[in-house]
Assembly symmetry: C2
Amino acid sequence: MQTSLRPKHIWLDLGKGLLSPLASTKRTLKDLDGFFVDAQATENILKSGQDPIIYEVYESLQPQEDGHLNFGTTILHPGKIGKEFYMTKGHFHMKEASSEVYLGLRGEGLILLQSSTGNSECLRMSQGDLIYVPPRWGHRTVNVGAEELVFFFTYQADAGHDYESLKKEQGFSKLVIEEHGRVNVVDNPRFMTRI
Amino acid sequence: MQTSLRPKHIWLDLGKGLLSPLASTKRTLKDLDGFFVDAQATENILKSGQDPIIYEVYESLQPQEDGHLNFGTTILHPGKIGKEFYMTKGHFHMKEASSEVYLGLRGEGLILLQSSTGNSECLRMSQGDLIYVPPRWGHRTVNVGAEELVFFFTYQADAGHDYESLKKEQGFSKLVIEEHGRVNVVDNPRFMTRI
């Protein structure tokens, strides 16, 4: 039996991605230490005293119970760490029977998807792109543009997040990097299959 | 265990609400016979040989199993049947442990919400309005503007829809009508509580 709730009304600025009256959670480079493949580039930036915001999340959280949905927006800033574009940590859901829907609102992005059995996909996630992430697919979003990438998401409130499996030690099988001014999706040399 | 699926990529025209490459399901006045309070007005239109489209739904359906999410858009046309604004049938979910998230994309709308224990709410659903419909709340959307109302929705794929409880015999406790050029939310004289 789920917790009883009243309906909620929240205002989403479709252009900027802000959700009123919520506050955002900010993820800085320090929070993503270990996620970008170029550890030296991360270290150099942090050592210089900088800690840039990589992304911000606005989220309406419901009780962590079967039957509820969480939803919100992510604002992924433009930039690179070494050759690798700014990205979210990425996650698998702890509960296998859970999925996620993404809707691109602004900017120029990609979503990397990786199944627990080793398949991977890379899909466009820009304005109007709707992505269905089925159960057992890890996913990470990458900003390959010059402006903020803004997208909306919804998932089961009891899904849970496993971020650790997608740190660079196991990592995603693919990296999104800039080479000679072009966006390239390449194999991650450090990738070890989770099987 | 849910059915295994690959990720899906669908394109949503955020202005028009069209989902490519899906086809829409059209709901005409004949499909909504019994939902508008003014039965005579419905009968007069249908007898004259007209059967206007009230709304269209684009939907990405997943297997009806725990862990999957369905999502899509509704395009609710502008108009009135008698004094009552065009609206969706409205529904409760068959599975109590299920909810729905709505995001207004265009137009001027309201969402009527009604709990299984007799509470009701009426919230704005226009561009940027995000509505969380918690478990056990029936909901119906109403177009109170002069243009199409377009919104996005997501819900658990195994939720199921109960439309019959919200036909006029039991109905919603509130009606949205136009009187003297104004939008009024009034008590439904035919409403009988479901308790």
